[in-house]
Amino acid sequence: MRDENELPLREIARELREPVPVSESFDARVMRAVRALPRHRFGFWLRLTAPRTITIKPLTWGVLAASLIVFAAAGVPRAFGALHRATRPIATALFPSSAKAPVKSQRVQFVLVAPDAKKVAVVGDFNGWDAQHAEYQAKHRGGGVWSVTAPVPLGHHRYSFVVDDSVWVADPTAPRVVDNDFGTPNSAIVVEELK
């Protein structure tokens, strides 16, 4: 019998490390619950990321931004002040001011069309892949278009959209890079100092 004055913790721990098998039906129950979860979302978003499905050409946004700048420069009525402020980041991204130097990062606009999304964020190596980063939360601009303009350091980067805190979606307008080990889709971006 054990010495009542010596109760080695290692012996207790060893006893507690004995496996505790689950009931035979456990696996089936888990898989039944998992199958009942909305699997179609993966397929839906994967289809959404296919380049043929959605195409937003940078040129389109460039023309739009340029038009807005011209419109603004011509003297924007006060009634359009709010619109001007909302679109200013786009213009800043495409036509950055040369007043501030040296420039170590550029403001970049990220756009995703996601009609059913409730939340869209941008994650990348420039923000630690943090889907909660305040600066990279996209706003719904109407018609299912989500966008955010945020600073990205000069250089090559990988990034992705995170929809509803759970689904990773590659940028359909950007080159894809090889998925990481986890299988999440990544896009590539090169940010250069504009002169």
């Binding site: 009542e4 004055n5 098998p21 689950v22 456990f26 397929g43 805190d165 759970s166 080990d181």
Partner: protein, 174 residues
């Protein structure tokens, strides 16, 4: 890789992850919650939550650790919800008897005493003790996992050890 297959839509591949981790993690849930029914509920909940949030698993190589963190939280929630409920101690007698070669009755009784003493610890002390001594996790990782500072965790482990010694000594001297 299994995780990547699941994320791409291969739901059935998730079964391999369940099979790989269920028994080891059932052990922690069982010791935390004190009975098999609650343990399996917490474990099943952890698996389904992991599946639902799989895209948020930043490091697929550490899926097991990530799943375990979810389980620790589920055990906390379930334990708090059922804290006032009287606990039943379902000891797997058959497994214990099979595991013991010489004195099955002694060993079964001893194991039951340990389980009973463990359930008398405060939940946070039991959690810290199990993570440290049974799961053999370092204090830094425990801190990341629980959101509790290292000093506080060391104190909880210390208190848990003292209380276990006290409870089990009482049993043996009786």
């Amino acid at each position: 890789m299994i995780v990547a297959r699941v994320v791409r839509g291969d739901v059935e591949a998730f079964a391999a992850l369940v099979e790989r981790y269920r028994d080891r993690y059932a052990r922690y849930a069982f010791h935390m919650l004190g009975n098999r029914q609650d343990a399996e509920e917490a474990l099943q909940d952890a698996f389904t939550r992991a599946y639902r949030s799989l895209a948020r698993c930043e490091d697929p190589e550490r899926f097991g650790a990530w799943l375990f963190r979810i389980l620790v939280n589920r055990c906390r929630t379930l334990g708090a919800r059922r804290g006032r409920r009287s606990r039943t101690f379902v000891v797997d007698e058959t497994a214990l008897l099979e595991a013991s070669e010489e004195h099955p009755a002694d060993r079964a009784a001893w194991r039951e005493e340990i389980d009973r003493a463990l359930q008398q610890l405060r939940a946070e002390q039991r959690e810290a003790f199990l993570l440290k001594y049974v799961e053999e996790i370092g204090y830094d990782e425990m801190s990341q996992m629980t959101g509790v500072g290292v000093s506080a965790l060391k104190m909880r482990v210390l208190r848990a050890c003292e209380r276990l010694r006290e409870l089990l000594s009482e049993v043996h001297s009786a």
